[in-house]
């Protein structure tokens, strides 16, 4: 058989597989977006027509608006704390040799492998016991959720920031000091700008993982104090309709926009 024909075939089969896999992973996202514009309340295909009504409906359902506000606050605060503490830790982990360094590195990354539902259960019981003994209520509070979500944002930050720090050629810092910059100036003017890509990526991933987290959060919310993904989950256990599609679509658009904005500063395809 002609080799170029065979090569051709191989290439196109491979491309077809890639296309199908992408279609598969994008299918739910595409359809939920489409349905949020359907005019009929009972979902059926093809739709009778299109409307923007459901987006207004979302606003009237206070549980989504409150969940959205809660998720935003939690994600923002958890990101802020996680990125700050995680970055400081990363600097120490990459730039210093000290006893227990490996252990601490593993400890800081360990939340990535502990199942969210298990960690959530442990934290739920812990919070309730704290309340029992110290009368300090953490379950179903903003503080409690932020504390829990810092567990998500620290490992992401450590992972991404250590990677970007390791990639920095130390002779560049030596050059800055050789030119008369002191340590703080060297950090501020040379090291920090070079690790900016890692920091931006860490902030994005921290924010998003916190925002969309479900398993860890499940037991830590309460009536009236719930996050958006849990509000969606609870609604979905009850029914699927264009309103919930509209809520989902808002989350998709928000996260897509965040990714696009971040991609302008840092090439996302290089950090993941």
């Amino acid at each position: 058989m002609n080799v170029y024909l065979a090569r051709h075939w191989r290439r196109w089969t491979l491309r077809a597989v890639v296309l199908l896999v992408y279609l598969f992973i994008l299918t739910p996202v595409i359809f939920i977006g489409w349905i949020s514009f359907f005019s009929n309340e009972i979902i059926s295909f093809p739709p009778d027509g299109y409307t923007l009504r459901w987006f207004g409906n979302v606003w009237e359902q206070r549980v989504f608006a409150r969940g959205f506000a809660m998720s935003l606050q939690v994600a923002f605060l958890a990101m802020l704390i996680g990125v700050t503490l995680g970055t400081l830790a990363s600097i120490a982990l990459v730039r210093y040799r000290f006893p227990g360094r490996e252990t601490i590195n593993m400890l800081l990354l360990s939340p990535l492998i502990v199942p969210g539902i298990v960690a959530g259960t442990a934290l739920y019981i812990f919070f309730i016991e704290i309340d029992n003994y110290m009368e300090w209520r953490l379950q179903a509070t903003l503080e409690g959720l932020v504390m829990a979500h810092v567990m998500l944002t620290i490992p992401w930050t450590v992972r991404l920031v250590t990677a970007s720090l390791v990639g920095i050629d130390r002779s560049i810092e030596d050059a800055a000091m050789n030119l008369g910059a002191n340590r703080w100036t060297t950090f501020r003017r040379v090291t920090f700008p070079m690790m900016r890509a890692g920091l931006v990526a860490a902030a994005l991933f921290s924010f998003i993982t916190s925002f969309e987290n479900l398993e860890l959060t499940l037991l830590l919310v309460g009536p009236g104090r719930t996050t958006l993904p849990i509000a969606i989950l609870q609604y979905l256990e009850f029914k699927v309709d264009p309103t919930i599609a509209a809520v989902s679509f808002i989350q998709i658009v928000l996260i897509g926009a965040l990714m696009l904005i971040t991609d302008r500063f840092v090439k996302l395809s290089r950090v993941v």
């Binding site: 191989r10 199942p115 037991l219 979905l236 599609a245 989902s248």
Partner: protein, 291 residues
């Protein structure tokens, strides 16, 4: 032992490193390590209905789990689903990761971002998407009816198949990205060398590319397997009320039955099973490459 290595002259306080790692470490210990320890301790307590929880050191919760056919079934279902999803996603992800790693197309970064995007959108939203695709009046059934293949809708939603489909879609991006980063590190000239020595493309794949990608296969398999074992939203929303996996069962124990000792035991059974199977598969796969 010296705290600072290869540090420039002019001195620096030796306590800098502990000050930098301290806060993050303390936080993680406080919100993860301590609660996990407490959880483990509670799994050895007794649960007496009406009295809530009684201090004890007993393995009866674990015994109850392994003697109750309902829970054994839940665990077995979970393992089956996790293995199926892991194997299928590995098979599907490999060609995609290979293309992503080898392409010189300018759309490469777009393709990578498109793989990351669904991952960022979150499980619940994607489960909602599958609900409208697989439902009785959903996309698939509407198409089947539209082209006259079926009169009655085929039950797709609230079946184990729906759960497997949903979980595969959730874990595929992780598998693709893990494999891609490893494949990217394999020098293409090694593949060319094999072709030059007379190996056909398929021989080159099985003798060279796949063995060299083994670290990625292992990392991806472990990561994806853990995710599958602990899936919550997908089985709850796509599996229906009859279908139970471990994570939802654990949630029910704590939130609905308020049986903390048994719930804690469930959590550790889940973690230990996952860990054991992960180690077993790692050893198995590593043997296969040594062969």
């Amino acid at each position: 032992m010296s705290v600072v290595m290869e540090e420039a002259a002019g001195g620096r306080r030796r306590s800098v490193a502990p000050m930098l790692v301290g806060p993050a470490t303390i936080l993680v210990v406080l919100v993860l390590v301590v609660p996990m320890a407490i959880l483990f301790r509670y799994s050895l307590n007794q649960f007496i209905p009406g009295q809530f929880m009684v201090e004890a050191v007993t393995v009866e919760n674990y015994v109850k789990f392994f003697t109750d056919s309902y829970y054994l079934n839940v665990l077995w279902t979970t393992v089956q689903v996790a293995v199926a999803c892991t194997v299928i996603s590995l098979t599907l992800a490999f060609p995609v990761a290979y293309v992503l790693a080898r392409t010189t197309s300018r759309y490469k970064s777009l393709l990578v971002i498109l793989a990351v995007f669904p991952l960022m959108v979150g499980n619940v939203v994607r489960a909602a998407g599958w609900m409208v695709v697989l439902g009785n009046d959903g996309v698939v059934n509407s198409i089947l009816r539209g082209i006259g293949l079926t009169a009655e809708p085929i039950k797709l939603l609230y079946t184990p198949t729906a759960v497997v489909i949903g979980i595969i879609a959730v874990v595929l991006p992780y598998m693709i990205l893990t494999l891609q980063s490893v494949l990217e590190g394999i020098d293409y000239s090694v593949e060319e060398a094999a072709l030059n020595l007379g190996a056909s493309p398929s021989k080159t794949f099985f003798r060279i590319v796949f063995p060299l990608a083994m670290p990625g296969v292992l990392a991806g398999t472990v990561l994806v397997f853990i995710l599958c074992m602990n899936a919550y939203a997908t089985p709850v929303l796509l599996g229906g009320p009859q279908f139970k996996m471990m994570a939802p069962a654990l949630y029910d124990q704590i939130a609905r039955s308020t049986n903390w000792p048994f719930g804690a035991a469930l959590a550790f059974v889940l973690m230990t099973t996952t860990l054991t199977l992960t180690i077993l598969s790692t050893v198995f796969l590593q043997r296969r490459i040594r062969r």
